[in-house]
């Protein structure tokens, strides 16, 4: 289940960042502190984005920062970060990015169900309302648990 990948301390609300790279770094920070990824993982996301573009921007206002497993993904986890001021990533269709779901996975199969839940949430307008109005991280996690 998606809620099992997310911990309260992985959720950050209304962060201030100056640019796209800082947004990626900040979104990954709780997973780094929590021992779910190594710093190599964050560098790989940034390096890939610089090389081929904002491949992690997947729908309107949403980025899913992640990299291949072998570059320091230690454990299955997902963080949620909302930005106070959205940033441009260079993705014409989906900019600006306001929500970042930084994720780490050790393989491509075990979290299939969680990814299906996330796809559904990202198609759900109420979820964006919850992201925008949450006063504390648990408000978001509670909504995710309720929707499972």
């Amino acid at each position: 289940m998606l809620s099992e990948m997310i911990k309260e301390e992985f959720i950050q609300l209304e962060l201030e960042v100056t640019d796209w790279e800082e947004a990626i770094r900040k979104s990954a920070e709780p997973l780094l502190i929590g021992g779910k990824i190594t710093s190599e993982y964050i560098e790989k996301i940034i390096e890939t984005t610089q090389k081929i573009g904002p491949y992690i921007v997947i729908t309107k206002n949403v980025a899913l920062p992640h990299a291949p497993t072998q570059y320091g993904a230690l454990d299955l986890a997902m963080g949620i970060t909302t930005l106070k001021t959205p940033v441009k990533s260079g993705n014409k269709t989906n900019d600006p990015v306001k929500y970042l779901f930084c994720m780490s996975a050790k393989d491509s199969e075990t979290h299939l169900e969680s990814m299906a839940e996330l796809v559904n949430l990202l198609s759900d307008q109420t979820f964006y309302h919850v992201l925008d109005t949450a006063k504390k991280p648990m408000d978001i996690l509670d909504y995710i648990i309720e929707s499972e």
Binding site: G53, Y55, I56, I58, L64, T69, S108, L112, M115, V119
Partner: protein, 92 residues
């Protein structure tokens, strides 16, 4: 039946979500397409005729002269976009 590979950089995140959404669209429309997913590393060994990926990655793949048709999706939760692009492929 067409064979499609949904691929992204890592094969663990966006490609997985794109595969889930693509399969929903295929099922709803009864499209004759079978889908698997992986990272870009598997593209060279893939023997099907369709590659589905995110728009940025599609641009990169298009420069590689692959034999498969490449579809780039901008918005992975937009079923209409996926449906339109798959229909276009099937009606070629």
């Amino acid at each position: 039946m067409h064979k499609a590979l949904v691929a992204c950089r890592a094969g663990v995140g966006s490609s997985l979500m794109l595969k889930i959404k693509t399969e929903q669209v295929i099922k709803e429309n009864g499209f004759p397409i079978q889908v698997e997913h992986s990272s870009l590393d598997a593209v060279s060994g893939f023997d099907g005729d369709l590659l589905i990926t995110l728009a940025d990655v599609a641009k990169e793949l298009e420069s590689q002269n692959l034999k498969q048709t490449i579809i780039g999706i901008n918005n992975i939760v937009d079923k209409i976009e996926i449906e339109n692009k798959l229909s276009e492929f099937l009606n070629r």
